[in-house]
Symmetry: C2
């Protein structure tokens, strides 16, 4: 036996599972397909030892797990720049504003938006993130898209457009893609729907000095014997006493395996024996969101001197939202444009030059012509990344959580599942990844103690065909 | 160079593409993962040289492509047994009836159902099966589930239940799963929505003597040099002058490749270079439907003597619909119970014994206690089949056709796509598979003549990141 456990995927979930098992005295192999760790966290070096994020970036006061993990490896946080005016484009009109939504959106649209947010908030509180399929009206909520819910519950066009834009920025999926039950699950797991949309009052409150990916880098640095990069897992074979994991150029054997990759990618591994259809069909129904993150880099954050926050939102522009993502000391100036949902699907079809031009044009419309004059422009198209295939997370299409939800975390034989989609606390974010890695490690340790594994009933259900 | 073309998957699509290319003088390798051909067509031998279908089975007068293919290999058709009474269970009540729907469903529900069918029929006619994303109101129709559409357009509970049951039987997906635009696309491609639901007046009119799978068997028998079974394709590598296809124990090289497997499974092949995200994200959003087909076999079709058709439908039972699927001469008696959509997801979690008991119980409720006394009981769980992973076909989740539809057939480099999901005429059925295989073969032949490949513009769009 080569190891007690093999962990597949060195994102935050896999790194956490490996760390916890190692601390418990287990021998672990952590296999990562790429030459870097971090998964959906990725850095871009600005020079002078500074770096910004091409992937996951933000967290808030309720994000206790990522804050704790970062503290444990000595990564400091700082506050997201959130002073000054915001700019919004709503159905072609330009607004400047201070709060969550432009007040000039209109005397009817404003309370309409407020009522909708409150309604979603109340619905979300009733959805348990670990078992959304047991929520009141779960089947009804899972049978409709976010688009359909808005049609019934939001009366004015500007409110609907602004709400859709916010959801498209937060979920990276179009209003047609998302099961309303998934919208509520993610909102509740994140700390609330409004909290999800807010900056200083919400989940965008903090960033990490040196970038969020440096948390992953520092976790990996403590696992030099465990980590192997460039190991693309293509097959998992379960035997009576062990599990064999293989890919081009390697084979490894252990007592257990933790698959810590997005649900869709977990479905692309060849399992022997084949997994039960109930689990396989889940992997067909949790597609990754669509996100292209573009960094526009300037000598300085010129918008700050103009009294602007750098935040630009757009219901119909090339990106849904842009933020000031300059390093802690404000030098150089960096704007990140989040091209998400339907916008990402349109822009992914353009050439890099066309995409750059569209994004800079959008920034210039919001912040003036200086925004078009960049020192550097970097894009990260998460759709094209072979070992991610979309961001921020895999969402549930309508009908999926109520039909296949119980398969999400249920171990099958010697295989346990991790990854942010399987988290509970802040599922879909950095916290969800850590939560899932801890849970998977706990499951393995409990098995060793001879306890019934968590989710055992579901395991019996999904595993019986073998 | 080993061959001009490699075709992956020996279902009707791959068999057709291989046949057409061979007829044009090309050398072809047809690689099939299983030890049998036919894909979603599969036979069950009854003895005495008789066989029935565990997979695809029916076709109608509008199904010209499958009829023509069957004729070309000498497989005869016969009429589906459709005489006598039908039995329906609608929201717990039992009805016997003759036509499309029980007349005793009620004076309000009946016209309500009729209006809904007519409305769907009219909407469907406006959706071009080759480009559904260009239909009037395409985005609106693609933004809602079939469940949401019914809520707005069908007033009575019995009509809604009966309509949902019919769609669940025809599409193998729950009302929550399906984009309304997909429902319309499939209906129009099939010859109409009502046509899709009818037996003698519709797409269930005929069956094949010896089973539909015998068409695939006979096509394969003419391709002895081309076909290689047991070849599981795991990788496709595009080079400047060729394409290399590989799997456990083999490597093959050709000028072009036709991937003729369901869209989800096409997404599970490892491509080098990695495919553009626009195409990959499509493969994440066309899950296979959920179907378990159960055959209950009796000495004779006892229901016929009782004046019954053998047809039992149920809005809430273990199966959505059962048919008399006895061989042409009526001996032995065979009933096929189609456990589809939500019913399949519930029943797949039961043990085989529990499933058998649930299905026989449902048949006995409909046709009397003799239905529980079988000579043999056979089930085909398509969710569990590793190289299919669901039936009847891959459907589009909401938002998918309008966002990623153009990636469905667009070749990428030397890779062309087939499979019933990529068909136009009768997409999703046997005809769609044949249509897609012919189109893919035509695309390759046109390339050889130096013509711009079909879908070239889309190819440029989806292929540019390489």
């Amino acid at each position: 036996m080569e190891a007690d456990a093999i962990v597949i995927g060195a994102g935050l979930a896999g790194l956490t599972a490996t760390r916890e098992l190692k601390q418990a005295g287990w021998t672990v192999r952590l296999l990562e397909a790429r030459e870097r760790v971090g998964g959906r966290l990725k850095g871009y070096a600005l020079g002078d030892g500074k770096a910004v994020d091409l992937g996951g970036e933000y967290f808030g006061d309720k994000s206790t797990l990522i804050a704790e993990t970062a503290r444990s490896v000595g990564v400091e946080r700082f506050s997201t720049y959130d002073d000054g005016e915001r700019v919004a484009f709503v159905n072609g009109k330009r607004f400047t504003y201070g709060g969550l939504i432009p007040l000039r959106l209109g005397p009817v649209a404003l309370p309409d938006f407020g009522r909708a947010v409150l309604k979603i908030e109340r619905l979300a509180r009733r959805v348990p993130p670990d078992r959304p399929w047991t929520a009141p009206d779960a089947e009804k909520l899972d049978s409709q898209t976010f688009w359909s819910w808005c049609r019934r519950n939001v009366a004015t066009a500007p409110a609907r457009a602004f709400l859709t834009m916010a959801v498209e920025a937060a979920y990276c999926a179009g209003p047609a893609d998302l099961s309303m039950l998934h919208v509520l699950t993610y909102a509740n797991a994140s700390g609330g729907f409004r909290y999800l949309l807010e900056v200083t009052k919400g989940i965008q409150r903090y960033r990490f000095d040196g970038g969020a990916h440096s948390v992953a880098d520092k976790l990996a640095a403590r696992l030099p014997d465990e980590l192997r990069t460039g190991a693309v897992v293509r097959g998992i074979e379960q035997r009576s006493d062990s599990v064999v994991v293989s890919g081009p150029g390697f084979t490894a054997r252990a007592r257990f395996v933790v698959v810590a990759v997005p649900v869709t990618l977990a479905g692309r591994i060849a399992y022997t024996p084949a997994l039960a259809g109930f689990r396989d069909q889940l992997t067909q129904r949790m597609p990754a969101g669509s996100a292209i993150k573009c960094l526009a880099i300037y000598d300085e954050p010129f918008w700050r001197a103009d009294g602007r926050s750098g935040q630009v939102t757009s219901t119909d522009g090339p990106f849904r939202v842009a933020f000031d993502t300059s390093p802690a000391d404000g030098s150089p100036g960096v704007l990140s444009a989040f091209v998400t949902g339907r916008a990402a699907r349109t822009l992914t079809l353009l050439s890099p030059a066309e995409r750059r031009s569209a994004v800079l044009d959008g920034l210039a419309k919001g912040l003036g012509p200086r925004a078009a004059k960049v020192v550097d422009f970097v894009e990260q198209n998460w759709l094209d990344e072979e070992f991610t295939r979309g961001c921020y997370h895999g969402y549930a299409t309508p009908g999926t959580l109520t039909a296949h939800g119980p398969a999400l975390r249920a171990p099958i034989g010697r295989i346990h599942w991790a990854g942010t989609e399987t988290g509970v606390h802040q599922l879909g974010s950095m916290g969800g990844a850590i939560d899932s890695g801890r849970r998977a490690a706990r499951e393995l340790l409990a098995r060793e103690r001879g306890e019934r594994p968590a989710g055992r009933r579901a395991e019996e259900l999904t595993g019986h065909v073998q």
